[in-house]
Symmetry: C2
Subunit: 572 residues, 2 copies
């Protein structure tokens, strides 16, 4: 009977996805108990059936009691976003000063366009003479309305869904901390306008509260009102009456201004209404004066560090993993691997492979992942990057060749020493032409139809201390990046083979992107493959897939519209 | 010759990773040009060699000119974080009011602990009587110092690296918008304290600036100073002198307060110092009065929507993908697939497989990914989720069985209608025991050694409108989540097979987590496998790997220390 009972216990224990630690602890406790003399004595002297019944019933009762005690019956509505707080703040802002409406002014030329007050307009440059090198010699900006690529019936559905998604997205993304608050002039209130933050369900001391009412006589009275937490006092000062400790509205009164202000140094705020990332609005009032400020309620950004391991000294293999995607071109892939091993013999290479009949790719520090046939470049990139266990990941195409100019140490150096998240290098063709594909990307707020996306060749500025490097928004597909940041952005598996820029558009605001032209990788020769007689069978099949576009795959412009909420793209 | 020239052009064009659109455009332009009568006439009448030379030289010259024009020589230091601005704000905050230091007060009992002013302490409950069901009946909180698991020599290295990483992380994560700013009382300045935001390299009108100096006589003078952008005016008002338009410091002077304030309604800020996500501090001064406020400089959060496709009506297969990881247990996996197909015949199932000798898993809407042998559960989860192309992803283990209680529509409903990012269900064992594994997770700020992590069974509150659902911080490994959010958090491939909670710790602050106990999946029977004679060969090999821990794999506690910067974990 003890044996079956042990099994029952183990089942209960094991079914909990506890960590190994807890699992081991339970087993150890059980094992110890069976062997104690106390247990053996009990077993000898007592009716075994009774004991067995008790051993089953008592724990159940105890657990039931425990459960009842921990359930609360507070139901909180998580459907509402911060809209109610937003309305509160907007009302106050609108009520401020329309006193100077009678003063005349004249608007400067060109200003309304700069400020794009009425939403962005989808315009490119006027088309000039159309001759072959026009676009290369004198790049003109072209503009594309994105909804135009949809059939009418699909467009209506797409629009409705987009609008719904956008409203839902804003509720999840924006908090009261994003709303406009204006500090009134000549107010006797002193208060914190930013920087007050509390972890969920925790308490903090509110800094900087004070009433500086020099002209008025006492008694002095102040109120504080919140909506997602309660106030209290950390200390008490004589001569101050406090009302509402532990509640959402607290008030302080005293005949001595100095005492009241001392008391105001000890006001605490406790978040009671749980949310992992939001903000509460606190109203601070004294007679006719009122001020609002927000308290952020959130877990602070979670660190996600990598440890290069117990080895001492610098080791690029513990810091960088090389990731690539291959399809059919095993010969080129093998050339790539050989060239890597010449310079980095122990660096891990992760290979995502969606060839129809995959061949094995083996070797030390090589990880080969087989995908369903033809899933595509983006799915492959997302897969490869999902398997990286080092701080940095280097992306290469399977037809690149490492040379003595491909110094990964330089890329590690710039990522270690700056706030960059990603740094691109340069790809050298067999002709000698070297490309960095630097682009800047900017956006303008539009209307409910979407925003405007602007893509230009070029970069923002040179990086001090790194004369060969610049800051941009998009770079060539030879880059090293912080693994955590690149995974946060991700490569969208909905794109099949084209749309290099889609990744960088997804990364806007998340990624700090750089580009150095002195870290060079070679691109395996394409000349043979371009000539009709130069293509091998493999090359022909490869080209057929590489440049095909099927119904199921989206192109990047579709995604800009459906995914990123743009209505227009301009590019040069 | 024309033929070789065409090849050369195509090489140049094709080597740019342009989108397919640009590529096609270039080819089309070239093809049109060769066939025009103009070209043919030119070719007939002119020395072909001269033309060829010109055709090569002219474009090169033009491109060179274009390049020179677009390069600026501004070098910006990206090594510095927002530290200089932080120092500026801290100085101002410290200089405010130490006027009431002489007033006595007495601190309330228990307050210092609540406020954790001195950093968190690593303490659990005092240990009681140690008997087998103690932990189950009366859960006590245990505390674990995390650095204790490291050897002394490794610990020193780990500590140094962690500290370096933490400083670097703070530079990348925090901006001037996080610093404490306190609004002074009785200041004649009116200004915006939050909510002012500009996209990088764009301009905005600054709202709410005003000088309300009622007592003083004119002339009235105000200054605005910024560090990452310049000021200008959108309109001009008579009687106001403006100095510094287009510069980082602008000043306005007028004898009429009303005119000055009208002019202040037209002040613009233009970000000139590029950064994808930062904040500038603006100082607003008038005589002895000064105020500071921040302007956020960033791309707003990028929407990443999914479109359920052109099909009309509700279709769970276009909204949800099922993801799972398998190792050896092909029979259980097949049972899972069969049970899914009973209810959801067309839903896509993504399977990550790290079996040593993988067998094919085929069928409609099944995607089978082969991994290197033994990569582990977390790597498998990260892989499977990286391949999902639908809005939601459902995670299941390969030994789960769908039943009529496994209503995915309910999970979709709660994710559609609330701000939740992830909702867990309940897993029913063959014994009838049903687990939801709800936990709450909280953290306290610590010191340079790290923070404190607190894990407790339980939940925060019930969700209004969904009486079977609650909000928690961690749930069981049967859940549906927004694909974008779950990918942003990610499953760390450094963890091999244990550490279920690690994912939820990584998600703190990012994920809004829920749990519903009315969406139930069954867990395939484990009883046979637990008995020594009941294990098949497969089961034995499976167990050997499942519960093994090797040198290369980390456990979750190591990661809490090295990755998430915690020094202590307490749990019940």
């Amino acid at each position: 009977m003890i044996f079956e009972f042990r099994i029952l216990l183990l089942l209960c224990v094991d079914s909990h996805p506890h960590s190994l630690y807890t699992h081991a602890l339970h087993l150890r406790q059980l094992n110890e108990f069976w062997t104690t003399p106390i247990f053996k004595a009990i077993m000898r002297g007592v009716n075994k059936k009774a004991v067995a019944v008790l051993l089953v019933v008592l724990p159940l009762i105890a657990m039931l009691i425990n459960h009842w005690n921990s359930y609360t019956v507070t139901a909180i509505d998580v459907l509402q976003g911060p809209d109610s707080l937003k309305v509160l703040l907007e009302e106050r802002t609108q009520n401020m000063g329309h006193k100077n409406d009678h003063i005349p002014y004249h608007i400067k030329d060109g200003m309304s366009k700069t400020l794009a007050n009425n939403g962005c307009v989808c315009e490119g440059d006027k088309p000039g003479i159309n001759f072959p090198f026009a676009q290369l010699l004198f790049p003109k900006v072209s503009a594309t309305q994105l909804h135009a690529s949809f059939q009418d019936s699909n467009l209506q559905n797409a629009r409705e869904y987009r609008n719904k998604e956008y409203l839902s997205f804003r509720k999840r993304t924006y908090t009261a901390a994003d709303s406009l608050i204006i500090a009134e002039a000549n107010s006797p209130l002193q208060y914190p306008t930013q920087g007050v933050e509390v972890r969920p369900r925790r308490s903090i001391l509110i800094p900087g509260l004070s009433l500086n009412q020099i002209s008025k006589e006492g008694p002095y009275l102040v109120d504080l009102i919140a909506t997602m937490g309660t106030f209290n006092t950390a200390a008490l000062v004589n001569g101050v009456q406090v009302k509402g400790e532990g509640e959402m509205c607290i008030s302080f009164m005293s005949t001595s201004l100095a005492s009241l202000n001392k008391q105001l140094e000890f006001v605490t705020y406790t978040n009671t209404r749980f949310h992992p990332n939001t903000a509460d609005v606190v109203q601070f009032k004294a007679s006719i004066f009122q001020a609002s400020f927000t308290i952020r309620i959130r877990h602070p950004p979670m660190p996600k560090f990598y440890n290069p391991g117990p080895k001492n000294g610098y080791n690029i293999s513990t810091l960088v993993t090389i990731a690539t995607k291959t399809f059919l071109r095993y010969d080129k892939l093998q050339d790539l691997i050989t060239s890597i091993r010449q310079f980095y013999p122990t660096i891990t290479i992760v290979i995502a492979d969606d060839t129809e009949e995959p061949k094995p790719v083996t070797g030390p520090y090589i990880e080969h992942y087989i995908m369903p046939f033809g899933k595509g470049w983006f799915a492959g990139r997302n897969l490869a990057v999902s398997q990286v266990a080092t701080k940095y990941v280097l992306w290469v195409d399977d037809d690149f060749i490492f040379t003595s100019s491909t110094k990964l140490e330089k890329m590690v150096d710039i990522l270690d020493r700056t706030t960059l998240d990603l740094v691109g290098g340069a790809v050298r063709e067999v002709t000698g032409y070297t490309a960095t594909y630097r682009h800047t990307v900017s956006t303008d707020a539009g209307d409910e139809e979407g925003d405007c996306l602007h893509i230009r060749t070029g970069f923002h500025h040179v990086i001090e201390g790194f004369p060969n490097c610049v800051v941009a928004d998009a770079v060539i597909n030879f880059f090293m990046a912080r693994t955590e940041k690149i995974r946060q952005v991700g490569f969208d598996p909905r794109l099949a083979r084209s749309g290099h820029l889609g990744f960088f558009i997804d990364g806007l605001g998340s990624l700090h992107v750089g580009s150095c032209d002195d870290i060079i990788i070679s691109h395996a020769s394409k000349i043979k493959a371009m000539l009709p007689w130069g293509q091998s069978e493999t090359d022909k099949v490869y080209s057929k897939f590489r440049y095909a576009s099927t119904e199921e795959t989206m192109n990047e412009y579709d995604l800009y519209y459906l995914k990123n909420h743009f209505k227009c793209v301009t590019s040069d």
